[in-house]
Subunit: 339 residues, 2 copies
């Protein structure tokens, strides 16, 4: 290992994912020489803490990206579209959490457990996949390698933190209002989320799929390097603060027993199998929140088809679904000497 | 129509489903001559209201069922196993909401919109299907009749009222505790349900499926009269008070467009299509609660297979999923002169 230290920028440093990125950089002792924090003018001038030291937040609109080695972008589509190319052109390797560049054939879309080799092709910009996609492909990859996956039907149970801090506040405010016999109000979502399920994540396409569903259908093909992978998805927002859950039905090309699938997943990087349903042990968002792993349980052979499995996959959408995966990409870049 | 009035018993009259049954009998003006209410000795002696008149709750253990025409059972497995045969032997036609007799070949399992003809074979006992099953088959039936259904993959988002009143109280108590910075406690469920998802409904079988999942796999075959129907299910409890939601993926034998499916479902009895996702109009538990219909939306052609549809089905699990369906069975029995 070299002793090289990196100047790392976090763009969107005060948001739900940006905050988590700083925490993950600390926790994993990423070789940060200098941390720079960026946000919109609203937050510029405030400070964020990094290893106990206050870092002043800079205005992303007026900043000069020169001297930055790695820029982690977590400021949403508009910030990424505007500033990520600027940061790259100034010499930084950009790891972007937005969907802006994910399907660009020039941009690697990487989950380090699945396709680290794609990093070699980077041209200064690497995309971090969608949160729901990441946790699914981490669990699907070992099965795909072993027996081949033909088709996936996934239904999601996604937490409000995927929308951001304002949505978490809205859910908590609605709970407070409800238990005080007041009418909960809503602003972030088109309907009340407390004690409800919203089958809408993002705008809808003409074919009736939502943007989130479309991401779950397209991104795994690119990450797993298999353009023939057939996927359909229904993505649903549920009243959970942190942690996305997924009911995943898989059609495999060769038969795989539940036991063999469990054994494979136990050895898979980034996966933790929690599968003793008889003891009420299965993955759940309240246990996954704050953890790094992708938790897999309820693994069983699908009784409705000859070669199929059912699984229940849960992970912290801010952690592995966003901040952790981005930092792991940065670690791989360092390890592979690509930065 | 005859002017005949019926002596109707509700067993489990003080529980979540029993209470709803009495409300539905009132609302639909079922020809009740006398209403009798039964519960365990704990509730015996208390009163329930029927059309504004108090009815004293009788102890089911010491009761004589003579003179009862129709007995609606909503007291759970043990009450049904013990007392339903006794009520039938005393001359009542029993409509049983528990799972005890559902798969008994001698017992019709009926959803009036789907298989009213099966009532003709009744021998004094008719089973009301599982709540999640009812709402699904009401929506699947018109599609099955038109193009044939080969396989179904369903993931559920089930409300706590399916467990009963104690579970609703537990969710509300947990919300109160959480917003007051106290630790929520749990008794009804093995884990906290507030801001969480529990992928467990009922005990687990050796093959890894839960009892609720098994019901959703087996019951539709009997109701729809198609032993070849292939179904797999993942059933999940979510922090919702009333109303079950289902993401349903269907493989059809012949191709059906989303538009044609929508048109078929618009004409289907018991179904209300809510499908303008671009205007954020789709079925949701907070809208379905207290309503009679099965709401269907997010209807789209499945991009992952040649002949398939995706749908989102929501209904009030206490209403169409239990009490309403039972009363509709009673209405059909009267109409078909089978009581």
């Amino acid at each position: 290992m070299s002793d090289r230290k990196f100047t790392v920028a976090v763009v969107g440093a005060t948001g739900a994912v940006g905050t988590e990125m700083i925490r993950v950089l600390e926790k994993r002792k990423f070789p940060v020489g200098t941390l720079r924090a960026f946000a919109t003018s609203n937050s510029a001038g405030t400070t964020v803490q990094f290893n106990g030291v206050p870092v002043t937040v800079e205005d992303v609109a007026t900043t000069d990206f020169k001297g930055i080695d790695i820029a982690l972008f977590a400021g949403g589509e508009i910030a990424s579209g505007t500033y990520a190319p600027r940061a790259r052109d100034a010499g930084a390797v950009v790891i972007d959490n937005s969907s802006t560049f994910r399907m660009d054939p020039e941009v690697p879309l990487v989950v380090p457990e699945v396709n680290p080799h794609d990093l070699k092709k980077h041209k200064g910009l690497i995309a971090n996949p969608n949160c729901s996609t990441i946790q699914m492909v981490v669990a699907l990859k070992p099965l795909h390698d072993k027996v081949g996956i033909d088709r996936v039907v996934v239904s999601t149970y996604q937490s409000v933190s995927g929308t951001g801090k304002a949505a978490m506040d809205e859910l908590l405010e609605q709970a407070k209002a409800y238990v005080s016999d007041q009418k909960p109000s809503n602003k972030v979502y088109p309907h009340r989320i407390l004690f409800n399920c919203l089958p809408q994540i993002g705008p809808f396409r003409d074919d009736g799929y939502s943007e989130e569903e479309s991401k779950m259908i397209l991104e795994p093909r690119k990450i797993m390097g298999d353009p023939n992978l057939k996927i359909t998805a229904t993505t649903v927002r549920v009243p959970v603060l942190v942690g996305h859950s997924e009911a995943v039905n898989v059609t495999t090309r060769e038969k795989l027993s539940a036991k063999d699938a469990r054994d494979l997943l136990r050895q898979a990087p980034g996966v933790e199998v929690v599968d003793e349903p008889g003891q009420s042990k299965y993955p759940m968002p309240i246990h996954a929140a704050g953890e790094d792993s992708v938790f897999v349980g309820r693994i069983r052979e699908d009784v409705s088809q000859e070669r199929g499995l059912e699984m229940w996959i849960v992970s912290d959408n801010l952690r592995k679904g966003a901040a952790l995966n981005a930092v792991q990409i940065a670690e791989k870049l360092v390890e592979m000497q690509l930065v």
